[in-house]
Symmetry: C2
Subunit: 219 residues, 2 copies
Amino acid sequence: MNFSVSEENYIKCIYHLQQDTGMVNTNALAAEMQTKAASVTDMLKKLSSKKILQYEKYHGFKLTDNGRKVALSVVRKHRLWEYFLVEKLGFEWDKVHDIAEELEHISSNELIERLQQFLGNPSFDPHGDPIPDSNGKIPKLNQVNLATLQLNKTAVVSSVANQSPQMLEMLKHYSIRIGSSIKLLKRFEFDGSLEIKVGKQASCIISEPIAKNLFVHYE
Amino acid sequence: MNFSVSEENYIKCIYHLQQDTGMVNTNALAAEMQTKAASVTDMLKKLSSKKILQYEKYHGFKLTDNGRKVALSVVRKHRLWEYFLVEKLGFEWDKVHDIAEELEHISSNELIERLQQFLGNPSFDPHGDPIPDSNGKIPKLNQVNLATLQLNKTAVVSSVANQSPQMLEMLKHYSIRIGSSIKLLKRFEFDGSLEIKVGKQASCIISEPIAKNLFVHYE
DNA sequence: TTTTATTTTTAGATTTGTCTAAAATTTATT
DNA sequence: AATAAATTTTAGACAAATCTAAAAATAAAA
Ligand SMILES: [Mn+2]
Ligand SMILES: [Mn+2]
Ligand SMILES: [Mn+2]
Ligand SMILES: [Mn+2]
């Protein structure tokens, strides 16, 4: 079946919301989609009639198996394009989201399969988010918040929660990237800030808010 | 100013039509856009009010300077994406048009500038059509139809008029590509077929219809 | 358990892009 | 010049996606 740009954006958005909250409600979706609740209800009816949603009036909704499949294919395209934009075209990671938001709706399947190959079958996008494969399987990574890392352990940065330009600026300053190895040297009681060693650089101190935005995995 | 996908498709189509015929008429545009004359009239009014067209009721229309600028930017994007699809993703040239028809509407200017650089600033797309630069300037090539080439002259294939899979199959058989050098050895009176030498291969004979679809330039 | 507040849905309009059928205009033919 | 044919435009309708304002249903508070 074929979906409009608008439908695909709704489906993807519902997918992301239900990752957190299980069943999704109208107002939350309206807020996330930057539209009005009435518009959401209209779309819910439509997606429901297309068997994308399990939808009970007044009682929330969630994706069907097929709906989740559609969502994952859009997510896959989004993240592969983001990878392309950063790795091949040299964009900064905080500039790619809006462009990928358009590119994810290009319909050709062969295009996305070839793109994936051309990129070397990446598993994670520039923000560290996993890229579903063509069957909708998502690579998993046992990641843990940097703020909760054990003392004197070394781990590798795997993703960043806040992907704003402000965060990017901060991380650039510390030369922290996805893939950087970080060793936790000391945790300061006073404000929760951490002394860390990034790669082979001299140790430095990062604030708790920064640490909480960074996820790492072992080995 | 911003244009919808539909508007951009119309503008580009008008541009191509007026290359041949000067002033464009409603029915021709409807045929090319695979739609109805009434729909075209509606769009003409809209584009006219946006100063994209000089439009006189019942008397045809053509693009304004600004309209031509918009058209060229869409053509530019179309051809750069086609180049990407063939040269980077390994598509055959007869498979790329429809995909580029979607990709040409991605709006980011920075994207297209970076894409151009990434591709090495190509001047011609996989079909041999010129790629306008960011100012709308079009590279020119003094090309001539292969059927009219002088005897015993060597020239380089620069573009192909008919870009169908059938034509591609034919050209593959003869190992003729854009950039192939061709020497005209003999012209047969009977049916206009030509004996040619492609690169360093043994000479072969091509039919007049094939020859008429191939354009070449000297040196 | 009423009453109040919040959430969600419906009703009715609007915009964009399309269509068919009919009217208007131009072009071609007698 | 009058008539026929072709082209183009208008009139009116429709589907998709959105909106505002009002009604209906549910949840929370008194
Ligand atoms: Mn999108
Ligand atoms: Mn991402
Ligand atoms: Mn297009
Ligand atoms: Mn082309």
